[in-house]
């Protein structure tokens, strides 16, 4: 049909699809799933870092961390809004999150066990997220692409802050250096898992690339991330916990070992160290807040129903 053709043409010239444009149902559904998952990741991602706000060891770091967690809430907001342009409400998506019907990035199912984790999450986790997300700035769906531009900018700021925290700690005491190394040891492999399963085990990649929702394969992105991280680790003075990690001059890339894909599957299907905790936290906050949201709705309804004079007289 003409609609399909028009849609294909927009994609072909790498232009954007906008909310009012016609789009195939599967494209819409895939987008909703992906954007929602991304939004949920921002919201759940507030927990592991939020865990350290009250214990931040300097006021400057406390301000940085609090602002970062706040930014994540902001990212969640944009992304839920992008989803709303596709006709799905934040409320619906939240229900799907807390009932376990929709996923979020598995990395957040690992606990944060020291203040160094705040830095490592900035460096490696935000780093991996950026590698995943920068191509999405050119994604075919307009509102998503534009959200991603803003988010990526803030994420690189966060990444630099995380790296700077680790750098500072490495110039501190022996205990702090050990803390950084221990943290990197815990997060390196989960960070590699963030790019998803190997390409030969990633059934949706081809379709997503054809639709311009995704622009690189998992393995391509993972390689890029490793190549980027190795010199950063050297500058930091930490060892990456992979004995197979070595520069391959022929390929012009680093060779590296495979993450434990068994663990990845377990965490994705709910059996990570913190899955239950993260969802329970989100559900509790959501349920505890229900009466406040109800009050706001009731108040708004009443205020708009009342004649303007009354409202003015009252205020």
């Amino acid at each position: 049909t003409a609609l399909v053709e028009q849609f294909e043409q927009v994609l072909a010239r790498h232009d954007r699809i906008e909310p009012r444009d016609w789009m195939p149902e599967k494209y819409r559904a895939t987008l909703v799933r992906q954007i929602a998952q991304h939004a949920h990741s921002e919201i759940i991602g507030m927990q592991p870092e939020g865990n350290w706000i009250t214990r931040a060891p300097s006021l400057r770091r406390k301000a940085i961390l609090l602002a970062k967690v706040q930014d994540e809430a902001g990212h969640g907001l944009y992304l839920y809004s992008a989803c709303e342009t596709l006709g799905v409400s934040r409320q619906e998506l939240t229900e799907k999150l807390v009932s376990g019907q929709q996923k979020y990035s598995s990395i957040f199912n690992y606990p944060t066990l020291s203040y160094a984790d705040v830095g490592t999450i900035g460096w490696l986790v935000d780093g991996a997220a950026i590698a995943n997300q920068v191509p999405l700035c050119r994604t075919s769906y307009g509102p998503y692409g534009r959200s991603m531009i803003r988010i990526c900018k803030e994420e690189s700021f966060h990444q630099r802050q995380g790296y700077e925290l680790l750098m500072t700690m490495m110039r501190g005491s022996d205990a702090q250096r050990a803390m950084v190394q221990e943290s990197v040891d815990r997060f390196w492999w989960p960070a590699l898992m963030m790019f998803g399963p190997p390409d030969d085990d990633s059934p949706n990649t081809a379709q997503s690339m054809a639709w311009g929702i995704k622009r690189d394969t998992n393995d391509e992105l993972r390689q890029k991330f490793v190549d980027m991280s190795v010199p950063q680790a050297e500058r930091l003075g930490v060892t990456l916990p992979d004995p197979d990690l070595v520069w391959n001059a022929e390929r012009g890339h680093h060779d590296f070992g495979q993450p434990d894909w068994e663990e990845f599957r377990a965490v994705v299907t709910g059996a990570g160290p913190c899955n239950a905790q993260r969802i329970a936290h989100r559900r509790r906050a959501h349920e505890d807040g229900a009466w406040v949201r109800d009050a706001a709705t009731a108040f708004a309804a009443r205020s708009s129903a009342e004649p303007v004079e009354t409202r003015e007289a009252r205020a």
């Binding site: 919201i43 507030m46 927990q47 939020g50 350290w52 706000i53 009250t54 214990r55 931040a56 060891p57 300097s58 006021l59 400057r60 770091r61 406390k62 301000a63 609090l66 602002a67 967690v69 706040q70 809430a73 902001g74 969640g76 907001l77 839920y80 934040r90 203040y115 925290l165 500072t168 700690m169 110039r171 501190g172 005491s173 205990a175 702090q176 936290h281 906050a285 505890d288 807040g289 229900a290 009466w291 406040v292 949201r293 109800d294 009050a295 706001a296 709705t297 009731a298 108040f299 009443r302 009252r314 205020a315």
Partner: protein
Amino acid sequence: AGALAAYCLMLGDDALVHSHRLSQWASNAPDLEEDIALSNVALDLLGQARLLLARAAAADPDLVPALPEGSPVPPEDALAFFRDEAAFRNVRLAEQENGDFAATVVRLLLLSSHRLALLQRLVASSDQVLAAIAAKGVKELTYHRDYAGRWFLTLAQGTAESRRRLLAGLALVWPLRAELARTHPVERLVAEQGVGVDPASVTDEVDVLLEQVFSVSGVERPGLPATGTVAGGAGREGRHSEAMGRLLAEMQVVARAHPTGLW
């Protein structure tokens, strides 16, 4: 200088401790918008606390706890993380556990109305640094107070449940308000010097404002008596409530584990 420093600690600790409580809402608020708004308020207060603690340390370096030789901990952090409970000068209202969103809103309304009134006068402080901190803070506090006032009204007029919770929060928080108006000798002194403000001098003005919020919201001003003192003292004398010890245990744990740490 001693009085100025002690006074900055009072203002700084109020901000630091209240900020700590508000920051506990991060990832726990009723909605994303409130999560962001409460973090904003917490960040503003944290920023004020940093400036005020730094001013206190500059005015009287003897206030700053001693740390191991060569420790790189800056004065603001030495004050925040290495003082013991009895050396904190915040009012007890700031340190109370959050309770629900209603109790948090009421506390924010009471603390921000009072602090805004103080800062509005402190803009004219003879201490230039304090005056500058106040000038910046006035804008922030105006937002905090308006935010709290809007939610006070919304909860009062929202649903039966929200009204019930608002009144319960008010009953819980109100008795601690009196401490804000209790003039400490240091406050009297700095007020006389034109450096600070006697908190008792702003209560009428704050009362008028609260009366407006209450009346628009259809809420009666509570008739509850003030929370008593301990051995004649309260927060400004370093005699806190039981909540304070736990708050500090958490806030200071990492910093204290690394007294020579660089962060």
